[in-house]
């Protein structure tokens, strides 16, 4: 459900690292709903229902669990810290536009739902149970349900049987003397579990202080704890949604070499627990939620009912190459989960348009005798924008703010499209020194300045290639950087030469003859394309 919604804020991404991502879903989109009129004498009406909108996610990777076990290792601590921070960031950044916010408003926190996953090795029912036990362990930790951990401990399952090792890890982490598991009675186990949860499931305030992270099952989760065994708040997908599907060849090699360890390591990305955060205020009815609750003995069958009609194809290994959701976006068997996770940075590499918006230095008149200062373009920071991805009414609209670095990132809907970017440049034309960022009243979007972007039309610039007589790639970049005249078609040799000359001067190149040499080309490319591939840099100030 690449869910579009109206309250778009800036994209904030936190720590998409090797140890698992904790990130906001990059941005949300708004679009007009198409509706029909009715006649006074008919009984017809339109229906408009909310989308389920995911705004963020945090992963607890396999490495933060004991192997083949639901036991959460102390290493997971960082993920809880990241999750807590992400939740706070999202609450502050998602909501009605600033203009409509009442002065005093408690930020609404995004509710969570926890999804566990297993790898496809072994039996589907075993994998389903293990994924649900892992999800339960994380959920229980977040709400400090000590009884739930005690149940996991007392009722072992296959490889997920807790014993001395788990007891020792908890005792070590909480600074207690090491004993055997057998030496611990139920009360002692409870006490140990609670202390361990408090030591691992923590948050860090902005001032660095450490606090316990304890969520409220009746407030902080998607179904508000209303369902049986927290249905809708926590679930396990078993092996149905692999992040990676190893090839037949790889699996054959592991099996020939009896390399179980290699096989399990290669499958590690599949064994993950992800907490998704939903748009603040989202609340679902657990009885209509398709996922079974974590203790449902018929879970496997219920999950099977929600698979894609072509799930066989999606879950089929390629003979030679591993398939990864991150790249191909088609390895999840469960359709419902696909909808929730398909645009999640925890599951998929995002394809983005990246624009850096710079402001031209003011063209000051040179005073006689004064030393000429080199003026650099500065980023347009913290400015609101509205971007329409396409021409027609009903095209997706994205609202947000530029970052400190003047950068905006928007998801790619269409590789080639005409986009209109409206920017709140406000009173930037006033003399410098006025602090434009601190104003009482946000400006109306109708006052924003408008730019047209031809997304996907930027030509590759190879500095060594001098065969391109037209110099199209150079012209595009110089124009984007604020040189020359507005319409590429009007660029004759004279315009190009003047623009190159100005660029060379601004960037203090050895030659400012206006002749395009290799160094100038390379510099233009560097200045323009500094951000990763697909970067388009926008014209500076008007």
């Amino acid at each position: 459900m690449a869910r579009p919604e109206s309250e778009v804020k800036q994209a904030i991404s936190v720590d998409i690292g090797e140890d698992g991502a904790a990130a906001s879903h990059p941005i949300q989109v708004d679009f007009a709903r198409r509706v029909a009129t009715s006649l006074s004498d008919d009984q017809t009406h339109n229906t408009i229902k909310d989308f389920l909108v995911v705004v963020g996610c945090a992963t607890v990777p396999d490495a933060h669990f004991e192997f083949d076990s639901s036991f959460v290792l102390p290493e997971a601590r960082d993920q809880f810290i990241k999750l807590a921070r992400l939740r706070d960031d999202l609450a502050e950044n998602i909501g009605p536009p600033a203009a409509e916010k009442p002065t005093v408003r408690t930020p609404l926190l995004p509710p969570l739902s926890v999804f566990g996953h297993a790898d496809p090795v072994g039996r589907p029912d075993y994998n389903s149970t293990l994924s649900r036990r892992r999800a339960r362990a994380i959920y229980a930790m977040l709400i400090r349900n000590v009884k739930e951990w005690l149940d996991l401990w007392n009722a072992g399952f296959g490889g997920d049987t807790w014993g001395d090792k788990q007891a020792h890890i908890m005792q070590e982490e909480t600074g207690r003397p090491l004993t055997s598991a057998a030496a611990l009675g139920q009360a002692a186990r409870r006490d140990l579990i609670e202390a361990y949860m408090d030591a691992v499931c923590i948050r860090r305030g902005r001032d660095g202080t450490v606090q316990k992270l304890v969520l409220n099952p009746k407030e902080d989760f998607l179904a508000r704890g209303a369902g049986q065994s927290a249905k809708g708040d926590v679930q396990g997908c078993g092996e149905f949604n692999p992040a990676i599907i190893l090839s037949d060849r790889e699996m054959a090699e592991f099996s020939e070499n009896k390399d179980q360890q290699g096989r399990d390591e290669a499958n590690a990305p599949n064994r993950r627990v992800i907490a998704f955060l939903f748009k603040p205020g989202s609340k679902i009815n657990p009885s209509r939620w398709p996922c079974p609750h974590v203790k449902d003995p018929g879970a496997l069958g219920i999950c099977k009912k929600r698979l894609w009609t072509d799930s066989d194809r999606r879950l089929k290994p390629d003979p030679l190459l591993a398939r990864e959701f991150r790249r191909t976006g088609d390895t999840f068997g469960c359709r419902f989960y696909h909808g929730i996770a398909q645009n999640s940075p925890c599951e998929k590499a995002q394809k983005l348009w990246i624009l850096r918006i710079l402001l031209s230095p003011p063209r000051t008149q040179k005073k006689k005798g004064s030393e000429e200062k080199r003026q650099v373009a500065r980023p347009l920071a913290n400015r609101r924008f509205v971007l329409a991805a396409g021409d027609a009414a009903g095209a997706p609209q994205i609202r947000g703010s530029t970052g400190e670095d003047g950068v905006i990132r928007v998801p790619v809907f269409d590789e080639k499209t005409r986009m209109t970017l409206k920017l709140d440049i406000g009173n930037l034309l006033l003399p410098e020194g006025l602090d434009v960022s601190k104003e009482d009243k946000p400006r109306e979007e109708s006052t924003f300045a408008s730019f047209t972007l031809m997304a996907g039309s930027l030509l590759e610039l190879d500095p060594d290639d001098e065969t391109n007589k037209d110099e199209g790639p150079v012209k595009q970049r110089l124009l984007n950087l604020g040189y020359g005249v507005p319409n590429i078609a009007d660029w004759d040799e004279r315009v190009l030469k003047r623009a190159v000359h100005a660029f060379q001067k601004h960037h203090q190149l050895p030659s400012n003859s206006g002749v395009l040499d290799r160094e100038t080309r390379a510099r233009i490319k560097e200045i323009h394309d500094t951000l990763p591939a697909e970067a388009v840099t926008d014209p500076a100030a008007p």
Binding site: R33, A36, T37, T44, T47, N285, P290
Partner: protein, 222 residues
């Protein structure tokens, strides 16, 4: 020969009637020259770009009245309505105050028993937005943008996509056609209506069962 009007996006028959000086769209809709159209588009509120509407000659009505006196003529224009049910994720209908904003006009909508919000709407209005007033901040609702009169017929894929989107099954934006996203939405809708509408999950928005189920869920035929 009657004039032919070719339908553009956002046009509906009551609007076309008003634009051409008809007091009711029925004059056009029931004209034998539009029999084909009426069969194809049973709901006069839902037309498709390219549809051809024959505009019949208008009947002149002559009324004899003495001069040198004031006379009042009342023209019975047909009232056009906009009705909407707004559902949250739990399928709970919104029961607070809903305001329809069109241009500079703001109209608080009336609410009937089934929490369907209703207001009169001028036939030429094409865009608007819904604003919501809620008692407590925990149920805050963002406004919803509307393209009024733009809903395409159920037989068209765009019409199916728009209904799925409105019902909360994201089926893709109108600009970019995304077959997988559309299939996702159809399958999810079918899965949710397996019991209530005896649908099979096929991923195909068929005319026999899935389209009628979609019409029922949406609250409107055509």
């Amino acid at each position: 020969m009657p004039d032919i009007h070719v339908v553009k996006q956002g046009e509906h028959l009551p609007g076309i009637a008003a634009e051409h000086g008809f007091t009711s769209h029925k004059t056009i809709f029931n004209d034998p020259a539009n029999a084909e159209l009426k069969k194809l588009r049973p709901n006069p509120n839902i037309l498709f770009p390219g549809d051809k509407v024959a505009l019949p000659d208008k009947n002149e009505k002559q009324v004899a009245k003495p001069t040198e006196q004031k006379h009042t003529f009342i023209v019975a224009l047909q009232k056009l309505k906009f009705r909407v049910k707004v559902l949250d994720l739990s399928d709970e209908a919104f029961g607070g105050t809903v305001t329809l904003v069109t241009g500079t006009e703001r109209e608080e909508m009336k609410q009937n028993g089934g929490r369907i919000h209703e207001t009169d709407i001028a036939p030429q209005v094409k865009q608007g937005k819904l604003q919501f007033e809620v008692a407590d901040e925990k149920t805050q609702r963002a406004e919803i943008l509307l393209e009024i009169g733009s809903l395409d017929p159920i037989r068209e894929q765009s019409g199916q996509r728009e209904r799925l989107n409105n019902l909360g099954y994201f089926a893709g934006f109108s600009e970019t056609i995304d077959p997988e996203q559309f299939r996702w939405a159809v399958e999810e809708f079918q899965a949710d209506h397996r019991e209530t509408d005896h649908l099979k999950v096929t991923g195909v928005c068929d005319a026999e069962k899935t389209q009628p189920a979609l019409e029922r869920a949406y609250g409107m035929k055509g």
